[in-house]
Amino acid sequence: MNFKFNRKKVSGTLIVVPANEKSFVEEMKNYNFPEARSLKLKEVMGYNKRRMVAGDVCVSDLAVFGLEKLFERKLLSREEIDALLVVTQTGDYLMPPTSNIVQGRLGLKRDMLCLDINQACAGFVLGLIQAFMLLEQESVHKVVLINADILSRKASAQDRNIYPLIGDAAAISVIERGDADQPIYANVKMDGSQFAALVIPAGGLRLPCSAETARLEDVGDGNRRSKDHLFMDGSTIFNFVQTEVPPLINELLATAGASADSIDYFACHQPNRFMLQKLADKMKIPHARMPNNVVENFGNTSGATIPMALALNFADQIRQKPLRLCLAGFGAGLTWAAMLLNLGPLQFCEMIDYP
């Protein structure tokens, strides 16, 4: 599905990562797997260091911490936030929305809109689309988009399939009206029939948490996880990305009448280095134009990986001048979404540690 927006812009992004750093090499002994193969996995997938919360930290904790920093540094004021979007799969509660909790904790105005969006790896693009739509309203001047997940608390430490790649983070982006004439294009696809490829089976009403769902089970390849844990069918997701993402981006570029050569960078969601390198190869894009270094430094942080790729690779450039970017996110749902836009100059683009 195509979307087109005029006169909208991202004015800054701040990423909050837990200070607690984990190392793949130190954790290899948790897996029932020969060390040589684990080292091979590290080399191919780009597993190295990542950030995970220590203790019972929640999404609203990371969000409140980051927003308070923006208020302190006068990059944003409480009163000017007209809408607060929280894109997460790991909200503080099943009910109410985490966005309302953040609003209450920060004492934001009551004359505003808070909205949670249940999306993950495609969540930055979907959040931007929602923010742009809200900005069509006369009463909305500034939208705060928070992409945050704490999936480490839902991953089994004995599941080599998922645990070594998960990182926690919150990306806080500010979106407002812009004056640039260049339209922003987006393309979104959904396939709920394949939802089981990325799922946390227990915890909703379909399968409430119980002693039974908490029981660790041998799931093959020496891995153990329970139904309370995040499950990813890695090879199905790999096939899905290789098959569906290139046509999604090609369709977007065709709609916009843009060539791949006119794009400075392809800032994609980063599940692991292997998948992004194969995606770049398939699209015949040089690896240097599709950054893939978030996972080796911070882990796969769900909807926050795209802003993190920008902060990690282009922070200085993008504060000075706009970059022409193609964004693409893909994952849970299944959902895949891409956006073509000029991003920058950003007022702020950086990462800070949550102590």
């Binding site: 193969r37 091979k40 997938m45 090879s235 290789q242």
Partner: protein
């Protein structure tokens, strides 16, 4: 066939693979190897196999036949 077997051996990082070799008998044959082979078949032959398709195959020769049959479709 020989070119295919060479590529397969490079992908799962063993010195040599023969037509009759059982893929699951290689100590290197794990989920990472399966993913690497899926990626190689996509890049070299334009074929998208699923892990389940690959795990249903026994010998390297059978995999070659499967790839040939998909190429013709």
């Amino acid at each position: 066939m020989n070119e295919f077997l060479t590529k397969l051996a490079e992908t799962i990082e063993v010195p040599e693979i023969k037509e009759a070799d059982q893929l699951k008998a290689f100590p290197q044959w794990d989920s990472l190897a399966v993913l690497s082979v899926i990626a190689m078949l996509d890049a070299s032959y334009g074929i998208n196999l699923r892990a389940a398709d690959l795990n249903a195959v026994n010998s390297a020769g059978e995999l070659f036949q499967l790839v040939e049959s998909k190429k013709r479709v």
